[in-house]
Amino acid sequence: MTAGLILNATICFAITVSSFAFAWVLASSEDKHNDKSKPALWALVILWSLVALTYLPTTIRMIAAATDHPSLDLIMYNLAAVPFSMVTVPLIFFILYVITGDQKISGYISFLFILFGATYLALLYSNGVIGPTITGYSSMFSINSDIAINIYLVGLFVIPTAMILGMMLLIFLQRMPRHLRYRTALPLVAISFVFDFMLTDMITDIDVMQMASRIFVLIGTVLAFLAYFPPSTLQRTLGIKASQNENYEEEDEEEDENGL
């Protein structure tokens, strides 16, 4: 029984470490970005930090479940709900800022999602949760409020997912160099992956589905890392290297044309 829970805790810990590492690497690459992309960069840093902060208490939760500490499990669930409910905020800011370029409007609209998150938390804490239900693979709680679940689905799930899909459609409809398409579309795919499976993870009451969701969150984090820092072998395979050839300016072009 505990082996499955320990595996679950390991996956959660891997998500925590990789998300924190990704946020750290992104933050330390600030110098390489121009002023226009910095607000979006910091939104991403906050987003990945919140993902890590959601899965850190979740790791402890799984260990608590494995070692039979239900009260610690509950405390950690309540703690993980805070960063989880705020994950939407930097995501909305990121998408709106990248599309509109207006920091103020993006800020105001993402503030609305702080209110969504806060309402979700208020309802979650006031109505409480049912559980934990501990199985061989997981420990789960049921949210004891239908309104909280509706806010969660509409405010924290449908709108941001629709925004990501809209932005991806915008990118796919444009003709652009392959490396730019890769650089813009893949981070969105990865964010969408992580975001949607995090929500599935939180709402599901089937242990195997929760475990699978967490594996997909981990895959999404790795995918996001590859989107920003693709290894050169991958760049060569996909043909997405920005410039594959060195500049060659030694000889006169006319000579080449004349076959000299």
């Binding site: 992104l26 226009k36 960069l41 800022y97 990248v98 370029g101 444009q174 652009m176 650089r183």
Partner: protein, 120 residues
């Protein structure tokens, strides 16, 4: 069809096309402005004074006249109806519509470029 000609915008669009190596037509600010003025006055006679209102910043008197003769008249984009007076032809309207498409393409490309620039 009444519309305003945004000279600053036309200059940016022409610069964009020049940066792509297209120095004539869409990349030529004089060509753009002359054609837009002619299109604005569709059905009416366009005089040099109407064109110079927009082109004075970019060209001298002689070069506009020369362009009218060697490009617009030669290719049948305008008809000379009196001394210094021209009307746009159907072919000229096609060219003007193409010019508007080039402006739309510029705006679309710039918008996408800005989005990519803001992506970290």
């Amino acid at each position: 069809m009444a519309f305003e000609i945004d000279v600053e915008m036309e200059q940016k669009v022409a610069d964009f096309y020049q940066s792509l190596g297209i120095n004539q037509g869409p990349g030529d600010i004089q060509y753009r402005l002359i054609l837009l003025v002619l299109n604005k006055n569709e059905g009416k006679v366009t005089e040099f004074a109407d064109i110079r209102e927009y082109t004075d910043r970019f060209a001298d008197k002689g070069s506009i006249g020369s362009k009218m003769k060697t490009v617009f008249q030669l290719e049948g984009l305008v008809e000379k109806v009196k001394r210094g007076g021209y009307t746009i032809t159907d072919k000229g309207i096609i060219a003007a519509n193409f010019l508007k498409d080039t402006t739309d393409f510029y705006k679309k490309t710039k918008r996408m470029g800005d989005i990519i620039e803001r992506m970290p």
